[in-house]
Symmetry: C2
Subunit: 214 residues, 2 copies
């Protein structure tokens, strides 16, 4: 059994959002697929640990912003490597509200958006599959490419956070490294020394040499 | 609402297989994602109309062969645009049996393979989401690229068959065209005249000029 096979499944990169009591919530996911076309329904997978998870369960709706290859590393870092329990993720980013469900959408960073009503949830261990009926969806650009998970890893040199479905457990043998600019602590399973030279901080985009051993 | 947004979700191309009473069954899917890592579980979506669908429900196991960019058009055509009710899909193709569950795997055409025990099924309208615990998985090549749905459409010039989750209903206004070589009838919703000049038969790879109006 070679767990690297899991990296051969193809994914995009999305901001999964919802809104509850007037407040926006969101996180990065890479797992989304269409299930049926009439009515149009999509499935997404979300870690139960994510702050956004319970908000979707309660709000009974969610939105997807399909990021482009030009999407900022900063947005992905903030929404993918931080928790809404600790910071206000939306503070520094422009977002709009969808026409149908008023859900937060990152139209400036996206190639397409979806607004969905939650129709079913299926718990599978650490994660929940949310199934949504698509109430509205739009294409925002025909000139950009959607960001794929492969592009995110190979071109942006990013690594999966621990609560991603695609996170792979490997033997731990490493020191922790902290970004001297934004204080993000690199604590993933690819040893810091083995990250490529052009790897950058997933939160602020700082180069590798700006990290310090903690 | 612009349904073309659904084409901005990222997918791979897979042969989904199973085995029941000693016979292999299989079809092409583009919907697969990892859900959890401990235990490793993946989800796939399959149209209930597919012959393979009920066989998976009964066999309680399934396998995925992750196709490469070099995978033959012929294999994809046979497994994606035909039914096992009508033809013996496996007759003309080399396949192996997985080490753990003896499931059919297309190792020559794949970059990775997975063998899964079915642990849960969730019906969603026309489709079922099958959730499998991965019993074995392997990487077969580090030099090839996995075929993405985008590559399949943009480079191979293919169109989604009607029972694919990503099939989009559009207004019908067209004649039917038949491949003069393999007799495949083109009956999809993109009008035949609007297919690009380098489009080829999804079954046998014949060029567009070899099609005749029926």
């Amino acid at each position: 059994m070679n767990n690297l096979a899991f990296h051969r499944l193809s994914y995009g990169i999305y901001v999964l959002t919802t809104q509850l009591d007037g407040k926006p919530f969101g996180c990065i996911i890479n797992t989304a697929f269409q299930i049926t076309s009439a009515p149009p329904r999509i499935a997404v997978s979300c870690n139960k640990d994510n702050y956004t998870h319970d908000k979707i369960s309660n709000a009974k709706m969610f939105a997807l912003s399909v990021l482009t290859e030009e999407s900022s590393q900063d947005l992905i870092g903030t929404f993918g490597y931080n928790s809404g329990r600790d910071i206000d993720k939306f503070k520094s980013y422009e977002f709009t509200q969808g026409d149908k469900l008023s859900l937060p959408l990152f139209t400036d960073e996206s190639i397409a958006t979806f607004e969905c009503k939650l129709v079913e949830s299926l718990e599978v261990g650490t994660h929940t599959i949310f199934i949504g009926e698509v109430i509205d969806c739009n294409v925002l650009s025909n000139s950009s490419n959607e960001m794929t998970y492969k592009y995110f890893h190979e071109v942006r040199k990013a690594v999966a956070p621990k609560n991603a479905p695609t996170y792979i457990e490997v033997e731990k043998n490493r020191d922790l490294y902290e970004c001297s600019l934004c204080k993000y602590v690199y604590d993933e399973d690819v040893p810091f020394d083995e990250l490529p030279d052009d790897w950058v901080c997933p939160v602020c985009g700082a180069t590798k040499d700006l990290f310090e051993k903690t």
